[in-house]
């Protein structure tokens, strides 16, 4: 009898591993091995025609911290993250509250908010180019109407990064709205009734009841927005190419540039490892603190 059980167990294990193998092979090939290879590459100097690559230890990392462009890019990305995250969350919340309330043209409003989500970032950048172009762009035309001189939004360091940030917010707010909408639908009606009986204003009800109840959703969106602030860089290729003077250059764009424009794989690898480390910390926070109440079973 126990033989049969043991046999069955062995068979299950075999089936389990066979079924996992395609995923395991692909994940190893395109995630785990490349991560280790990146780390390995980051420890060596760049191979040139005259000199073979040699072990450098943490040399590439110290080079990065001495590189003014690196510091500029990291600062930019921090500004990018800490502006796109809160602003798009606030807009998404307002959108969800509106799209969920009884107002006219609700169907149109929902569609309008969500539409940017289905557009490619490259297409979004092309649309916004029409707004930002100096002289005949939409923003300049509106400005000109009020007598404001032409502004080269993408071409001057003070405004380039912010122009990029606005496109990102435009792209992701409608996406985050969906999560809020879903969460709003799970809030029971009787809370609203109770608040009405207590004579709460709509504003108090929103602030004291709705927003606290949406907290788990907000945390979920925050993690997503944080990942987006690393990932969403496609529009840079169209709008600014990181310029002028690196004013709008972000980390992932810099990695691409180092690796595929300057052919400096070791430094690109070192920067990649730093990004992975930051993402790892975010993952750690998410899985230990934020998911305490979520059950993966």
């Amino acid at each position: 009898m126990s033989d049969i059980v043991a046999n069955e167990r062995r068979r299950q294990a075999l089936y389990g591993w066979i079924m996992l193998s395609p995923a395991a092979i692909l994940l190893t090939t395109f995630a785990f091995y490349p991560s280790l290879a990146t780390f390995w590459t980051s420890l060596f100097s760049r191979e040139t025609r005259r000199r073979p690559s040699e072990f450098k230890g943490i040399g590439n990392y110290t080079d990065l911290f001495a590189d003014p462009t690196f510091l500029k890019v990291v600062t930019n990305n921090l500004i990018y993250a800490f502006s796109t995250i809160p602003i798009s969350i606030i807009i998404a919340l307002a959108m969800a509250l509106w799209a969920n309330s009884k107002i006219p043209a609700r169907g149109f409003i929902r569609t309008a908010y969500f539409t940017p989500t289905v557009l490619p970032m490259i297409a979004a950048a092309n649309l916004w180019l029409f707004f930002y172009t100096p002289g005949f762009g939409v923003l300049d035309q509106i400005g000109g109407f009020f007598g404001i001189p032409s502004i080269n939004w993408l071409g001057q360091p003070q405004t380039a990064l912010w122009s990029v940030i606005i496109v990102t917010i435009w792209k992701e707010a409608g996406f985050f709205m969906i999560f809020y909408l879903a969460a709003l639908q799970t809030i029971p009606e009787d809370l609203k009734e109770a608040a009405d009986i207590e004579g709460c204003s709509r504003w108090t009800y929103t602030r004291r009841v709705i927003i606290p109840l949406l907290m788990p959703t907000t945390l979920f969106i925050m993690v997503n927005a944080l990942i987006n602030s690393v990932k969403l860089i496609d529009h840079l290729f169209i709008l600014t190419k990181g310029g002028p003077n690196d004013a709008s250059k972000l980390v992932l764009y810099y990695i691409w540039e180092m690796a595929f424009a300057f052919f400096d794989a070791p430094h690109a690898a070192a920067l990649t490892i730093l990004v992975l480390a930051v993402l790892g910390v975010v993952a750690g926070i998410k899985f230990t603190i934020l998911d305490k109440r979520t059950h993966y079973q």
Binding site: G16, L20, I25, L27, F30, Y113, T117, F130, L279, V282
Partner: protein, 269 residues
């Protein structure tokens, strides 16, 4: 007072909605007008299709469309295959090491394929897949997110059905194919919509691993076509942009409910 604040909110909501679609509307309008009419906002100016003609002959769009179509199909088939098997193994099969491997898979949620571009490029070249559609699609097939999604879907299926199929003499694969896959259909549809719209729009990785019009997807083609070096004017860029977003945009407008449901289903769990 209440009526007043309600109206203010409605107006705010509508203004935001108009602001939100305005880039799309302007581009739509520009695409159908001559450049000078478009930039001068000449409302009464005549509509024209010449921008589309100029854009259409300026690049092999049909090729780009079919590349993108092929790419999202290849990725979707690969993802369905890989995530179904892995999701089932994680959900319903007991074996040693399962939980440890699952944690590894969860880790991949944060090792973004976008960040590993350098080594993945080396890997794809080593496999001889540089400048092939398979090379563009392969890194996305074992999506940790998809495995997680399928695992959740399969866990929600009643154990009794599984037992019943087994009593009837079904094999493991038979049970998976006849019981689990059909019952998880809503999850498959949701995952398909999210996957297709993600990869239809993907840019950075295809930019790196494609090098010829025969493999280049729409997004990369569009970026090359609109590059300032090419000196294409804004109306023609708008026409090209409209053209390349049209299929997905129309699909979205028609199946809006399903789209939103799909994003919800895949995001919340």
């Amino acid at each position: 007072m209440k009526l007043f604040s309600k109206n203010i909110e409605a107006i705010g909501a509508i203004i935001l909605a108009i602001v939100w679609v305005s880039p799309l509307l302007f581009a739509f309008w520009a695409a159908f007008h001559s450049t000078s009419d478009a930039v001068n906002f000449n409302i009464s100016s005549p509509w024209t299709l010449s921008n589309f003609q100029t854009a259409w002959v300026g690049a092999p769009w049909l090729q780009y469309f079919s590349n993108t179509f092929l790419l999202v199909t290849v990725i979707l088939i690969g993802q369905f295959f890989v995530t179904t098997l892995a999701g089932f193994a994680f959900a319903q099969i007991q074996f040693p090491g399962r939980d440890f491997v699952f944690i590894l898979v969860l880790m991949q949620l944060f090792i973004l394929p976008e960040v590993l571009i350098v080594e993945n490029y080396v890997m794809v070249s080593r496999l001889g897949l540089f400048d092939t559609i398979l090379g563009v699609g392969m890194p996305y097939m074992a999506s940790a997110f998809g495995i997680f999604l399928m695992r959740q879907a399969f866990k929600g299926i009643p154990k009794e059905l599984h037992e019943a199929a087994r009593v009837e003499g079904c094999t493991w694969l038979g049970i998976l194919w006849r019981v689990y896959v059909p019952l998880a259909r809503p999850t498959y549809i949701a995952y398909a919509l999210v996957s297709v719209s993600t990869h239809w729009n993907n840019f950075l990785w295809p930019l790196i691993v494609t090098n010829s019009p025969e493999t280049r997807p729409l997004t990369v083609g569009l970026s090359i076509f609109g590059a300032p070096e090419n000196g294409v004017d804004i109306s023609v860029i708008s026409a090209a942009t409209m053209m390349s977003v049209a299929p997905l945009l129309i699909a979205f407008l028609v199946f809006q409910k399903q789209f939103v449901q799909a994003f919800l289903r895949t995001g919340i769990k």
